[in-house]
């Protein structure tokens, strides 16, 4: 922690080319602004990351893992886009449009889904420095692009210049377009997270959000409906349709600017640049507001002390205590709400866009089963770091638990809370999916399979929570993810949890998908078995290493 403070002081003073003149400026009552370039923020961020990695093997391993993953993503993205040079020009352009859009959406949603993938500066730490809005904006932006994933995004996007640019002049336009697309990804991602965290901290905000979640899912269906409008299952025509729908979205304009060149491209670049500036401004405005606005999410005179159904049904004891506490947190803690919001939206979007992707009319089974299974995995993703939200408060459990069994009960309580919310949600999802697929009876296997997948995902999540726990920051202002340097661990937990959960779900999902719906009767017992196994292993491990879990989940950021 001393290192962090030194980092701030050293960074800011080092960058203000004359720290003394800056200070005397404050003293003499001049404008008071310190001359600080974006370089200072980049160095500060690098120091924070380096400091966060120091002295922890897990975190270092996580960091290395995420660097490798980012290099793979960057390389793969770059070559995929570059290889489009071999494709017909219009196909290449359309594909780039779609890929750019996916990149942008990824930046908006992934940080919401998995806290901590994206570690950034906490702007509240800068609140006392005399910085102008412009400085703060460029500084926060510079700090935001200093990271493994932003770089990977940039490298991948540059593949489009190789793949699309018509000539040397086109390449210049292309470079600018790619930079703008990249900047847009960053500022939009930041704006959404900052604004959401602001909204979520008010009491009304969460109701608004619940409604808007449905709205977002519906809007996401629009391109789908357009595409479905009379197009055959021809992938190229489908691509063309999708691309034309996305033509005037920012990503579409960026892709077209690279591909087309000429004055039109310049106009598109100008529009993009303005968009980046406007969104950047909005982001900083939201940030400034968030920094000086009190968290209103708790400003009730009193909370209702009514006991939920779960508390009445469960026997008195630790299991009921943990489960009801977790349910209260899902309701009262903005971080819990963001997680559930993102899980629902992404599930909705992913699940129901599958209908329309036109790949030779997916079978009835896929249409009915897939949404529930994806939803179950997304919800399970919320449980890959089950002790994260408790964080520094977890000592209270630690001083009470004296055996592996106690920890197992604790994890079971958390799973029970997740299931209490997730099972009805997945049931609704299964029914809707079955209705959309046109065969209501399929709702039964769909729901059963989804529950099974949830169980498998929770089982995996219990292990990741114990083996690679990480800190979820208490402050939602900045919507920072993990403490700097912990992004790698968060990535490993989320990604690993997702993959392992998916693989473990295959034994129950595959037979159903391949046309044996009766197999779904085994899904729930299988899910229960995997989650029980996960808890059993995790309970023992947690008892053996709870001081380490405590330390990992309560790092200051």
């Amino acid at each position: 922690m001393a290192g962090r403070d030194l980092g701030v002081n050293g960074g800011v003073n080092g960058g203000a080319d004359s720290g003394v003149s800056g200070m005397s400026g404050v003293g003499t009552g001049a404008t008071g602004a310190v001359r600080v370039g974006p370089g200072v923020f980049v160095r500060l961020k690098l120091r924070l990351v380096a400091g966060g990695l120091r002295g922890s093997g897990t975190r270092l391993a996580g960091f290395v893992f995420s660097v490798i993953a980012a290099v793979v993503v960057a390389g793969f993205g770059f070559f995929l886009l570059a290889a489009l040079r071999a494709a017909p020009a219009d196909v290449a352009r359309d594909l780039t449009t779609v890929l750019f859009t996916m990149q942008l959406l990824g930046w908006v949603f992934v940080p919401l889904l998995a806290f901590g993938l994206d570690d950034t500066l906490d702007p509240s730490r800068l609140a006392l420095f005399p910085l102008r809005t412009g400085q703060l904006a460029t500084g926060m932006f510079a700090a935001s692009i200093t990271g493994v994933w932003p770089l990977a995004t940039l490298v991948a996007a540059f593949g489009a210049v190789v793949g699309l640019a018509p000539g040397a002049g086109g390449a210049v336009v292309g470079v600018v377009a790619v930079l703008l697309q990249f900047a847009l990804c960053i500022v939009l991602s930041r704006l959404v997270t900052t604004a959401l965290s602001g909204v979520l901290r008010t009491r009304r905000g969460r109701d608004v959000l619940a409604v808007s979640a449905i709205f977002v899912v519906l809007v996401a269906q629009l391109p789908n409906l357009l595409v479905n409008g009379g197009l055959a299952a021809d992938p190229l025509a489908m691509l063309g349709g999708l691309a034309s729908a996305l033509r005037w979205t920012p990503s579409g304009m960026a892709a077209h600017a690279v591909a087309d060149g000429g004055p039109a491209a310049l106009a598109e670049l100008a529009v993009l640049a303005i968009l980046v500036l406007v969104i950047g401004r909005l982001w900083i405005a939201a940030l400034r507001r968030a920094l000086v606005t009190a968290d209103a999410s708790t400003e009730a005179s009193a909370v209702r002390s009514s006991r939920g159904l779960l508390a009445r049904v469960l026997p008195d004891g630790p299991l009921a205590a943990v489960a009801t506490k977790e349910l209260k947190y899902a309701r009262r803690d903005p971080r819990g709400r963001v997680g559930w919001f993102a899980a629902i939206v992404v599930t909705g979007v992913l699940a129901f866009t599958m209908n329309g992707d036109g790949r030779a009319a997916p079978s009835l089974a896929v249409l009915a089963i897939a949404p529930g299974c994806i939803g179950a995995l997304m919800i399970a993703l919320q449980a890959v770091n089950i002790f994260g939200i408790d964080g520094r408060s977890l000592w209270m459990n630690s001083v009470a638990y004296g055996s592996a069994r106690d920890w197992r009960t604790d994890i079971a309580g958390r799973h029970l809370a997740v299931a209490t919310i997730a099972v009805p949600l997945l049931t609704v999802l299964a029914v809707v999916a079955a209705l959309l697929a046109g065969e209501l009876p399929w709702a039964v296997p769909a729901a059963l399979t989804a529950w099974g997948v949830l169980g498998a995902g929770l089982g995996v999540g219990a292990l990741t929570s114990v083996l690679i726990p990480y800190t979820v920051p208490e402050r939602l202002n900045a919507f920072t993810g993990a403490a700097p340097g912990q992004g790698g661990v968060a990535f490993a937990a989320s990604f690993g949890g997702l993959i392992a959960g998916g693989v473990l779900s295959l034994p129950i999902v595959l037979p159903v998908l391949l046309g044996s719906p009766w197999f779904c009767v085994l899904a729930v017992p299988y899910g229960l078995l995997v989650s029980w196994g996960g808890r059993r292993l995790a309970g023992g491990l947690a008892f053996g290493r709870y001081p380490e879990i405590l330390a990992a989940t309560s790092r200051a950021n």
Binding site: P318, A321, K325, K328, A400
Partner: protein, 259 residues
């Protein structure tokens, strides 16, 4: 002292953070019953020591015993005997005070009716009845210390560990805390607390352990440790404080004349 089992006894407790030795072979002794103070400057290793004794931080070496039971070998027996109020007031922020106590009691397997009865009494004694249904996140520092202490007392532990219980607490709340703790120790229970406030330690404690740079530099009955001086003087002498901050050199720019 050989014939009685101490409430707390550590032997050569060691904790390193990377290169830095936070606690370097601490032999903490706390006799049973009454108040024991753990004093020392910032960074002396008080919090690290208390964390290791309460089973929240794994020591790199040495042992810790509470009532003769090894903290790390017999966790169930130890954990039911101790109550803890760690530094930094890390509580479940989104529970109300009443819910926090209920949570704590249920975790420890105390029957619900009993938890409710004890919670009500603790809330009343701590003067928290009006705020019992507010979320802990909205509590002031004094209220948080009080609800934290209530949570630590709920299962009636034999030994209570409090890390800086009076830090940032207003005099009224501090008085409440002291009153409750006095009642608690009157029946023979033990309170171990760390503090910077020498006057308070002097007023409350019959036993003092002084830590400096990861070592115990003095330990024993209060009168023995202060040896006729005030505890503050004895403390400054023990930790080897030289009057920094009063010298003429350095900081010449500080102050209104420098502009």
């Amino acid at each position: 002292m050989a014939d009685i089992v101490e409430a707390v006894r550590t032997r050569q407790l060691v904790k390193r953070f990377g290169q830095q030795v936070a606690v370097g072979g601490v032999d903490l002794i706390v006799p049973r019953g009454g108040f024991a103070g753990l004093v020392g400057p910032n960074g002396a290793g008080k919090t690290t020591t208390l964390s290791m004794v309460t089973g929240l931080l794994r020591p790199d070496g040495g042992t810790a015993h509470i009532d003769g039971l090894d903290v790390w070998r017999e966790p169930i027996a130890v954990k039911s005997r101790i109550g803890v109020l760690p530094e930094g007031l890390r509580l479940f922020e989104r529970l109300s005070g009443r819910e926090l106590l209920a949570y704590n009691g249920q975790l420890r397997g105390i029957p619900k009716e009993e938890v409710e009865r004890r919670s009500a009494e603790l809330l009343r004694v701590m003067d928290l009845v009006d705020s019992a249904d507010k979320l802990v996140v909205d509590y002031s520092t004094g209220m948080r210390k009080k609800i934290g202490l209530a949570a630590a007392l709920l299962h009636n532990p034999a030994v209570l560990f409090l890390d800086e219980p009076f830090e940032g607490v207003d005099p009224v709340s501090a008085n409440t805390l002291v009153e409750v703790l006095r009642r608690y120790t009157a029946s023979g229970s033990t309170v171990v607390f760390s503090s910077h406030v020498m006057e308070l330690v002097e007023r409350l404690c019959d036993w003092v352990s002084v830590m400096s740079r990861g070592q115990i530099v003095a330990q024993g009955p209060l009168d023995e440790v202060r040896a006729g001086r005030s505890l503050n003087e004895a403390f400054l002498g023990l930790v080897g404080a030289h009057g920094h901050g009063g010298g003429e050199e350095g900081l010449s720019w500080l102050g209104a004349t420098s502009a």
